[in-house]
């Protein structure tokens, strides 16, 4: 065995022999990493959701039923040139009815109603997509003030905006709380790990003198403790992965369809290795930092 293998084994032994102390330490570290990762995942996932929603955002201008299709097409060609507008689609009332029938094919009540009703209750509309979400306001204002505004039945837009703004506010709040809690717990986690390692050092106190007399280099004496710190970090990373798995599974039904057509579980699985890698790096970094602090302060050699 090389020195690295030996110090590795020694560190692992120390980790096991600490028993409940190791368990407690890993638990605290797990909580801190869990909070941070959940916050991050919420952050990333909500960005995706937001982009999604914004991508699906549109302004629907419904025209009164007596307005001719040709007039609507005219209006459309006038609007198409506006620089804020990305696209305008004309949806005739016939097309609208078709889509509506298709979408509500499972709903008995609606289908039956449609069969009974004479004529088409739906209106023709122009579906306008802006190049970016902030421009919808401008577009809506422009339409309201336009010459054809009398032909407009109603504009379906405002509700989306409110919902989006609420969504953004909630997410911001969640992120702030998450980061604050996360930092607090990381601080605690590092402290607890550092303490556990210090205890291990204390238990091995008499060995240090002998190690020096027998010609062990400082690195050889220190390495087991660095490894111990790494084990605390790695173990908690794995625990967090499992916790995230459980959480995702639990939240999957609630979030179905919201993230790029999947749910939070799909997100977790598709990003599995990145999440694992980041967790391992952070866990091991935290463990190593704790070990280094303990060594600096308490390892007298």
């Amino acid at each position: 065995m090389t020195k690295i293998q030996r110090t590795f084994k020694e560190g692992l032994n120390n980790f096991y022999r600490n028993g409940w102390l190791s368990f407690a330490t890993v638990s605290v570290l797990t909580i801190s990493l869990y909070i941070i990762s959940v916050t991050l995942i919420i952050g990333v996932a909500s960005n995706i959701v937001l982009k999604n929603i914004q991508g699906n955002l549109d302004v629907r201008v419904f025209f009164k039923s007596d307005v001719e299709d040709t007039k609507i097409q005219e209006i459309r060609s006038k609007l198409v040139g506006y620089q804020e507008i990305k696209s305008i689609d004309f949806v005739s009332k016939e097309k609208a009815l078709e889509e509506f029938k298709k979408n509500s094919i499972d709903d008995q009540v609606i289908s039956k109603t449609l069969d009974v009703i004479d004529g088409n209750p739906l209106l023709s509309s122009l579906v306008i997509k802006a190049k970016s979400p902030e421009q919808y306001d401008i577009i809506v204002k422009a339409i309201n003030g336009a010459a054809f505004s009398e032909d407009i039945g109603n504009i379906d837009y405002k509700q989306n905006k409110d919902a989006i703004e609420r969504f953004i506010t909630i997410i911001k709040l969640v992120k702030q709380v998450g980061i604050t809690l996360g930092i607090v717990f990381i601080f605690i986690g590092v402290l607890i790990t550092f303490n556990a390692i210090r205890l291990t050092m204390y238990a091995h106190k008499q060995e240090f003198e002998i190690m020096r007399l027998v010609g062990a280099s400082n690195i050889y004496i220190r390495m087991p403790f660095v490894f111990e710190g790494i084990f605390y970090g790695a173990a908690s990373s794995i625990a967090v992965m499992i916790a995230l798995l459980v959480t995702s599974k639990f939240l999957a039904p609630i979030t179905s369809g919201s993230i790029a057509g999947g749910d939070i579980m799909d997100f977790y699985l598709s990003h599995f290795f990145i999440i694992l890698l980041l967790l391992l790096i952070s866990g091991i970094a935290l463990g190593t930092i704790s070990a280094t602090i303990a060594i600096r302060r308490y390892l007298k050699i």
């Binding site: 020195k3 002998i210 027998v214 010609g215 280099s217 050889y220």
Partner: protein
């Protein structure tokens, strides 16, 4: 046990150990050693005597670089010890075997593991260790008790394990600081015999002791320290310069 040519070469040209005008003063102006001049050749067996607190242990500590002199130079094979980088001290220490009164064995390791440990820290392979450790334990007469823990061994046996550990790097010098202090007369003599045996193979021995009987029986070089100074340095010396009433 190791290359005879090396030993001969060392004998010829260099002083294995040399103290030049060495003093050691601890904080609080406590003078442990003063004006120490000492030359040791390879292969010598030196008893360092003096009552408790006279500075014997301090002298030995300077040899294995546990302490550095306040003034003067301690050299090993003509190389001043203070020129050794702190990082390299461990490598120097592998040239010096140490044996102490309180054994300093690791209680949770067997005799074999205690000796093996000294080799592990210098990165020897498992095969090397499996070969050398039983060999060395045999030399000290502990071959049959390799698997025992220190608590299962008598004082004399524990000390022999310590000697095995001290020998494992084939050191040029062995420092024995009151190795028989906790032992009964029989074990004491056994340990001394072992030291003599090791010495006959070429290793220099520095033995600090206040066991009068041993020193007189050994009839080797004696260096007497009193109040931090060397007051006597004789070949074939006795413990005390005062003549016994025959």
């Amino acid at each position: 046990m190791y290359n005879e040519k090396v030993v001969k070469f060392l004998n010829k040209n260099k002083k294995m150990l040399r103290f030049e005008n060495v003093s050691k003063i601890y904080p609080g102006d406590f003078v442990a050693l003063e004006d120490i001049d000492l030359k040791v050749e390879q292969g010598e067996f030196i008893s360092i005597v003096g009552h408790s607190g006279s500075g014997k242990s301090t002298l030995l500590k300077l040899v294995y670089a546990e302490e550095q002199p306040t003034s003067g130079i301690v050299s090993f094979n003509d190389r001043p010890l203070d020129s050794i980088n702190r990082k390299h001290l461990p490598f120097y220490r592998r040239n010096v075997g140490t044996v102490f009164q309180d054994f300093k064995l690791l209680p949770q390791k067997t005799a074999y593991e205690n000796v093996a440990y000294a080799l592990e820290v210098s990165g020897e392979s498992d095969e090397e260790i499996a070969e050398r450790v039983p060999e060395i334990l045999d030399i000290v007469g502990m071959g049959s008790k390799m698997g025992k823990y220190p608590r299962q061994l008598s004082g004399g046996e524990q000390q022999r394990v310590c000697m095995a550990r001290a020998l494992v790097h084939h050191p040029l010098v062995i420092i024995a600081d009151e190795p028989t202090g906790n032992l009964d007369p029989t074990s004491t003599w056994e340990i001394i015999q072992l030291l003599l045996k090791i010495n006959s193979l070429g290793t220099t021995i520095l033995l600090a002791t206040h066991n009068k009987v041993i020193v007189d029986k050994l009839n080797r070089r004696v260096v007497e320290i009193d109040d931090g100074r060397i007051i006597r340095d004789t070949e074939k010396g006795k413990y005390s310069s005062v003549k016994d009433k025959a």
